[in-house]
Amino acid sequence: MSTSGHASPTGPVGASGAEKDRQLLTRIIAGDQQAFSTLMGCHQPTCARILTRMVSQQDVVADLLQETFLSVYRQLHRFRFESSLRTWISRVAYTTALQYLRRRRLEQQWMVALEAPQDVHAVEDEPGPPELSQALQTGRQLTAALGGLSEPQRLMIGLHYVEDFDIGEIAQVTGVPRGTVKSHLHRARKVLKHALTRHATVGELL
């Protein structure tokens, strides 16, 4: 799978892609194990990244990934193509992680952070140059900067910039309104830009 999130036989959009997904699903429902293996090969990396961003424990991710695809396998016949296949599978991964958080009594914490897209740390107004793109090239502080985001913000940044989900798809995966997704992304970019440009400035001074 490529890292762009286009690894589905369909890719995220497109009529021919949807048709390929439909054919793949028909084969799986008919009992074609190879077809299910193809589906898993395509969507496993995206689901693993969603689970990792939500759970942050690598030892748990493999179990939740298995749970995700078990649910996908069991519910596949109910899929009606109201969204793209990858959006639906990602939603299954999301709800699987949410169920895990519920068992660990961490769901409430997640939901509060999800529904109130506030900055984890107060940030100043958008800093001037250097731009985010420049800051990203100059430093290796992305991991630290990501640490300044709330968990839902990290998830949404990943869905948007790594998996190439648009606002509507992120809203479908997470079940929050589009406006909330936009807010999260806006604030997350602001926090990242602030953290990265600060690092870049400090680096320049040194």
């Binding site: 695809f69 990943g158 910039y161 790594v162 806006h186 970019r189």
Partner: protein
């Protein structure tokens, strides 16, 4: 395809590139084999023969228990 929402495309592209580079270093688990084993096991456990054997074993156990209690 450009699906980013912010006005500054170069920032979006740079962020996307940096995040993907970061993700490349993280191994993705492959759970296909484990899942197939589980599905096979569930399919076996849900089979008529398996359920019949389990019911027979349970009935035998109950019968043995009753016989032991009465004797």
């Amino acid at each position: 395809m450009n699906r980013f929402t912010e006005p500054n495309d170069s920032d979006a592209a740079a962020l996307s590139k940096a995040l993907r580079e970061q993700e490349q270093g993280i191994a993705t688990p492959d759970v296909r084999d484990a899942l197939y084993r589980r599905l096979r096991q569930e399919s076996r456990d849900g089979g008529v023969g398996y359920v019949a054997v389990q019911a027979l074993l349970l009935a035998s156990l109950l019968a043995a228990g009753i016989w032991y209690a009465l004797s």
